[in-house]
């Protein structure tokens, strides 16, 4: 570990330059930052679990150092990339589906319900 500087504190330094506000309330910006950081951490945890499973498959036992040293081969790397992609698709469903919805203007289901009642 690095001596002489507080690496955790310094790694989190902000970049100079006023940050744009993306939402009307600052709390919304702060909350999204926390949510996305958690989304990333879950992904990293899932990848670690995948590593543990693969090492167990191969060796039947694992040591912590094996996890840190693990390098997936091309096929495993791809499989893990697909896992991440599918995970992101699940987490980001709302934004993706809202984009899909923009393509087709639709009446509210309440309106459809009224139409069907009289159909």
């Amino acid at each position: 570990m690095t001596e002489g500087i507080d690496w955790i504190d310094r790694a989190g330094a902000r970049a100079k330059g006023k940050r744009p506000a993306y939402f009307d309330a600052p709390e919304q910006d702060r909350t999204l930052s926390i949510v996305l950081a958690l989304v990333a951490e879950v992904s990293a945890l899932r990848e670690r679990l995948d590593t543990v499973e693969r090492l167990l498959d191969t060796n039947g036992t694992i040591r912590r150092g094996d996890i840190e040293a693990y390098v997936p081969d091309a096929a495993a790397g791809r499989e893990r990339g697909v896992l991440v992609k599918a995970y992101i698709a699940r987490v980001m469903r709302g934004l993706t589906q809202e984009m899909e919805a923009m393509a087709t203007p639709e009446p509210s289901v309440e309106q459809v319900s009224r139409e069907l009642r009289d159909l």
């Binding site: 330059g17 990293a44 984009m99």
Partner: protein, 394 residues
């Protein structure tokens, strides 16, 4: 087959690479996938938002279409979908910096120690504390990189360069290849195709940062004298050590401003910048080009790799989305620079025959994504325009 980025562990290691622990690599893997989702996955949602509600809303309000990319930006910034997308993208940039800095700073003693071994007493690293970091480099931290290219966590460290280099993978999903050198490799390929047999004797790279774009030229032309200049000492320290570890012994890193190049007239056969001009300012850019022309030999080549300039032919929406980094990723000269007529600037500097050609990153396509098959990531894809000219001999 599902298109996914390669894992971070597939990038090549060199003598200055930080060693990722398992989860640090996994965080970069997430970000590579997340950036791909935001660009190729749902980036098209911005155009859809614009077409289906922002543009109609603008026309209803103003009884005309937007006159420029700035009006589109202001209108889009009121749209909830675009706001959310932008907020996600901004966060991905910030997380890339945070994750890269955690990895680099926790092992900074080790990295500084390795750099000292490569750098101590070497004539190929020339630092000059009298060189000022210009205002256009200091105004904000470029691409949200805390400390920008010139920041130090302690005197003489390599943290800025190490963080910049390692995170390019996450931002581009591996688009620049195993050593982030797909741009430099493309230059080599272009030169060999354009001028077979050409052996430039001296090459200058202005704004070289960590030298990732110039090392491939140094290795391709081992008999040439290659000079890489930058105003920021921290990236030069890192870049020199990195280049040494990769065997680029003919490459000298010099702390020097592109506005005052300390070499004689006509010294270089080739003057190069790669994704650098957009990090200047309105007055600095023509000065750098003019200085480059001055030190260029008659018959020599000047070449600038950049994203395409905005022109009247480019739709305003396209200009707007390409401007995203300017206002959301601390690239304050990006918008103005891409609005310039770069060909005219070069002509005014004494290069009458300017050509423009497309260049894409050359990478090991068995591992890294082929850039010709990638969906455009508006301003970040490794597909560039080269603005070039051969200096007249008479």
């Amino acid at each position: 087959m599902t298109d996914v980025p390669p894992p971070y562990t597939a990038v090549a290691r060199h003598g200055m690479s930080p060693t990722p622990d398992h989860d640090e690599a996994a965080r970069f893997n997430f970000l590579a996938g997340f950036n791909k989702y935001l660009s190729a996955g749902i980036g098209g949602g911005n155009a859809r938002t614009y077409a289906t509600r922002v543009l109609p809303g603008f026309v209803a309000e103003h009884a005309r279409e937007p006159a420029d990319r700035f009006e589109i930006r202001r209108a889009m910034n009121r749209d909830p979908w675009h706001r959310f997308w932008s907020a996600c993208k901004r966060n991905s940039m910030e997380m890339r910096q945070h994750n890269g800095r955690q990895m680099v700073l926790r092992q900074l003693d080790e990295l500084d120690g390795r750099a000292a071994q490569y750098n101590a007493g070497r004539a190929t690293l020339v630092l000059d504390p009298a060189v000022e970091v210009p205002r256009y480099q200091r105004a904000v931290d470029i691409h949200c990189m805390p400390g920008s290219y010139h920041g130090e966590e302690r005197a003489g460290d390599v943290s800025a360069g190490a963080n910049y280099d390692c995170g390019i993978f996450a931002t581009t999903g591996g688009g620049l290849g195993a050593l982030n050198d797909g741009g430099g490799a493309a230059l080599v390929e272009w030169a060999r195709r354009e001028r077979p047999g050409w052996q430039p004797q001296r090459i200058l790279d202005i704004g070289a940062t960590v030298g990732h774009n110039i090392v491939p030229l140094a290795l391709a032309f081992p008999d040439a004298e290659i000079i890489a200049i930058d105003t920021a000492a921290p990236v030069l320290r890192y870049g020199h050590a990195r280049a040494q570890s990769l065997g680029a012994a003919n490459l000298r890193f010099v702390q020097m401003s592109g506005e005052a190049i300390g070499f004689p007239d006509g010294y270089f056969d080739w003057v190069q910048t790669t994704m650098f001009l957009h990090e200047l300012s309105g007055t600095a850019l023509p000065r750098v080009i003019a200085e480059g022309v001055r030190v260029l030999k008659p018959g020599g080549l000047m070449l600038h790799l950049e994203q395409p300039q905005y022109s009247d032919e480019m739709p305003l929406y396209e200009q707007f989305i390409r401007d995203w980094d300017a206002f959301n990723n601390n690239e304050p000269f990006w918008s103005a620079m891409h609005g310039l007529d770069l060909k005219k600037v070069m002509r005014d500097a004494g290069l009458p025959d300017v050509f423009v050609t497309g260049v894409r990153a050359v990478v090991d396509e068995s591992v890294f994504p082929d850039q010709s098959k990638q969906v455009e990531d508006h301003g970040r894809a490794a597909v560039w325009n080269a603005y070039g000219a051969w200096k007249p001999t008479a």
